[in-house]
């Protein structure tokens, strides 16, 4: 079963962190760094193996293997295939190999950073923390190279569980457990639809595999070609329905509107955990799932439109909320929601490469920003309010410059990585949007969001690092060690250079072939059949337009987004890059209140829960208590009563028993005699 060479070791990538989880949980208390060493070694091992895999995949090999089959059955499915198998298997193609590297790298850096952030700060419960990180990494890695939807779903759920455990790490506070519960419940709400989608896909096509001849993608394609009717729907409609069901899980995990409310609250967890959640694991899982089964979504233009519209809307929606936040982590949280909106938009318009590219860049710069924020928090003695910071630029230069690199990437300023990927997303959206009004609206929203992104990013940078120190702690910062600085430097470099892997605009203008990521995902180095950008691109049924020529459109789009980003940054510069910044948001009036209340999203969700779900649940409970329980109870009462009556037959007198026997015998004789004619 096991593959050869690097692929034979592929399971170990996920298993290393699992071992670290067990070790940290069992022996963490007795280990010098409370389990940190185990986690660091495990994630380092995973990272190295992932790199090896990446190199192997670059050498033209891919790996798609079923490792374990845990259930199989015969069933005639709706689409007409026989039998279904539920398996654990690995699918290592360019996409998952790339993602493996990202996840394991970020996890490794987060582990290292934790040494400085958690250990050095004298936290208690560290074995639990490192065990949680290990399990988190394990689930995400296993999710990334899952080769079928059900396995992906399982680890998707496990990722949700781990986020619950880690967000609620400081369970003695009041807010952390509540935030953990909220994260769990909101994502679970989305996962409910995901589960429905998995079941629907399995029962329709009889397979849940992502790739190969027997994948549900191929089956769906065939069904649409043959014009089959599935569950009373046209095949394409049914594909849309199931795709949207799965999308429910994606929207929960990737914090897309309206299921985004858990993410800002998840800031209650340790900052390192936030970095892991936002950059590489939990939130990325949703978008990664869309990329993973992109072939399926590509079959349904409706689903794609929904994705892109939700993405565009979320991008703008979250960006506006980020503008008024005072907590450095809150700003980052809303930027994450917004950025994932971009990825969804990119995938939704068929820009598979753009979406994945942005996912990769975002992983690096968001991890960098969160770890930078973590460093700032350490420097500030666990103060998170930006208004109490200021002037940290000179006190902590390494943190500042790396943070600045991340901020530039986030804002999308040329030539940092975020610019290239965001521009590609927007370009893909634009060319489709020229033909599709709905997507044009999504594009417009995303474009406006660029301005807000630039604004809030630099508002955050200026408030934190520039100006005069606004509190005593800001004047007397806490020193940070190498374990904090090293990950920042690594990620800082990546944030700057990661964009180089796909310089699409330059390639267009200069006519040179430097879109490496596109080639990578297009299978030029080798890929699993059907999982290439080209295959997807042919399936997606969107027409593409252009203003003038392609190059002009591209330059126009890039110029527009860059201009807006710079405008946002400059606005922030004018307003906040002064020695004594003031709270300009006071001038916003009613808008400010709406924004600070996050558009009353929490309120209406609580309202729904209290006014709608609770009464329904109460009614169901009453029904259960009265009708169901009443039925059961009456059955037992009836049989008890009947039993108490019937036992009177048992008098204990032999004579009565004998009389009954004889009477029965006489009755039997009479019956048989009458039937058999014995009396004639």
């Amino acid at each position: 079963m096991a593959g050869t060479g690097a692929f034979g070791y592929a399971p170990a990538i996920a298993l290393f962190p699992l071992v670290a989880f067990v070790v940290a949980l069992t022996f963490g208390k007795y280990m010098p760094k409370r389990g940190a060493i185990a986690g660091i070694l495990a994630t380092a091992g995973s990272f190295l193996l992932s790199l090896w895999l990446l190199v192997t995949v670059a050498g033209g090999e891919v790996y798609h293997e079923t490792l374990y089959e845990w259930a199989a059955g015969d069933v005639l499915t709706e689409a007409g295939s026989n039998g279904i198998e539920f398996t654990f298997g690995l699918l290592i193609d360019p996409l998952s190999a790339l993602m493996l590297v990202i996840v394991s790298l970020v996890a490794f850096l987060v582990h290292v950073f934790s040494l400085g952030y958690m250990n050095a700060e004298g936290e208690t419960g560290l074995p639990r923390y490192y065990a949680g990180l290990g399990l988190f990494t394990f689930s995400m890695l296993a999710f990334v190279y899952a080769d079928n939807l059900l396995m992906a779903f399982m680890f998707f759920e496990l990722v949700g569980l781990c986020s619950y455990l880690l967000i609620g790490f400081w369970f003695r506070t009041r807010s952390a457990p509540s935030a953990a519960k909220k994260a769990f419940l909101v994502t679970r709400f989305g996962d409910y639809f995901f589960l429905l989608g998995v079941v629907a896909i399995a029962s329709t096509f009889g397979t849940v595999a992502f790739a190969g001849e027997n994948s549900f993608v191929v089956a769906a394609e065939t069904a649409i070609e043959n014009g089959q009717t599935l569950f009373g729907f046209d095949a394409r409609t049914w594909v849309t329905i199931t795709a949207l069901l799965v999308l429910g899980g994606v929207m929960g995990k990737s914090a897309q509107f309206p299921l985004h409310t858990w993410l800002p609250d998840a800031m209650e967890g340790p900052t390192t955990v936030s970095a892991l959640i936002h950059a590489a694991t939990m939130v990325a899982a949703g978008v990664y799932l869309v990329a993973r089964m992109f072939g399926y979504y590509a079959l349904s233009p409706t689903a794609l439109t929904v994705i892109s519209f939700v993405g565009g809307f979320t991008a703008l929606f979250a960006a506006t909320m980020g503008v008024v936040k005072d907590d450095i982590k809150q700003v980052l949280a809303y930027s994450t929601i917004s950025q994932y909106g971009y990825m969804m938009l990119g995938l939704g318009v068929g820009g598979y490469v753009a979406g994945v590219f942005h996912l990769m860049n975002h992983a690096f710069f968001k991890a960098l920003l969160f770890l930078g924020a973590g460093a700032v928090i350490v420097i500030m003695h666990h103060e998170q309010d930006m208004w109490k910071m200021g002037g940290l630029k000179d006190k902590a230069p390494i943190t500042y410059y790396t943070f600045l690199a991340g901020a530039l990437a986030l804002a999308g300023i040329i030539p940092f990585s975020g610019f290239w990927s965001k521009d590609e997303v927007l370009y893909d959206a634009l060319i489709v949007g020229l033909e599709q009004p709905v997507i044009l609206v999504a594009y417009a929203m995303a474009l406006i969001a660029v301005f807000f992104t630039g604004f809030y990013t630099f508002r955050m940078v200026f408030l934190t690092f520039h100006g005069e120190p606004r509190s005593e702690t800001a004047e007397d910062p806490h020193p940070v060690g190498w374990s904090i600085k090293a990950p920042l430097i690594v990620l800082g470099i990546l944030a700057v250079v990661a964009g180089l892997v796909n310089l699409a605009p330059l390639a267009q203008v200069l006519g040179v072939d430097i879109t490496f990521l596109e080639h990578w995902l297009d299978g030029e180095f080798g890929s699993v059949e059907g999982l290439t950008y080209h295959a997807y691109h042919e399936t997606v049924a969107f027409d593409e337009g252009a203003i003038g020529s392609e190059t002009v459109t591209m330059l126009l789009g890039a110029g527009l987004s860059l201009g807006l980003a710079l405008a946002g940054a400059l606005t922030a510069h004018t307003l906040y890059n002064v020695p004594e910044p003031v709270r300009h948001k006071e001038r916003l009036g009613g808008v400010r209140r709406t924004l600070e209340a996050n558009y009353y999203q929490d309120e209406y969700q609580v309202w729904i829960a209290e006014r709608f779900t609770l009464p329904v649940a109460r009614m169901a409970d009453r029904f259960d208590q009265s009708v169901i329980d009443g039925l059961v109870n009456s059955v037992s009462t009836a049989s008890l009563f009947g039993g108490s009556r019937l036992k009177r037959v048992q008098t204990g007198l032999v004579t009565n028993y004998a009389a009954l026997l004889v009477a029965g015998f006489i009755g039997l004789l009479l019956l048989l005699g009458t039937l058999g004619g014995w009396f004639l």
């Binding site: 004579t655 009389a659 004889v662 009477a663 015998f665 006489i666 004789l669 005699g673 014995w678 009396f679």
Partner: protein
Amino acid sequence: MTTKPRLRVGRVLLPGVLAVGLFGLMALIVLNTSFGGSQGFPESIAITSELGYAMFQLDELQSTAGSIPNTESFLAAFFLIAVVLDAALDGAIVLAKREEGGKPVVALPSQRDDAEPARSATGRETVADGGSDSTESVTTTGSDADSATDSTAAGNGNDDNDGDGNTGGDA
């Protein structure tokens, strides 16, 4: 207390109607059945000896000429019945045996042989069990009788209050 069998009339006879009814029914059925003539046994054979042969599986001795066909041998059944009878006898003894204070009551106890060893071996425990030691108390000396009745009165084996009496008896 049931004494002399006497046919009581009235409601107790009501179940008896069932028996009579059953007889009537079965008689009706039997009289309506034509059995035909009996096959009977050959004149020349002694049935009793044949029974014995069959029961003890003495196949060689069974008569052949004009014999009764299909008589199986019943040795195993005979043996089983023997075992059952034996078990029934043992069961009857077990059921009929009367124990008082964990000791079987002997119908005609030999006073001199039984009493002393039994007393020294189990006397104390017997008393401690709380059973009445009436048979023994008759046979033993005054102090022992005293202790036995005392223990009985004290109830369940709490004979500490009369320790000296018992020790005397054991010695």
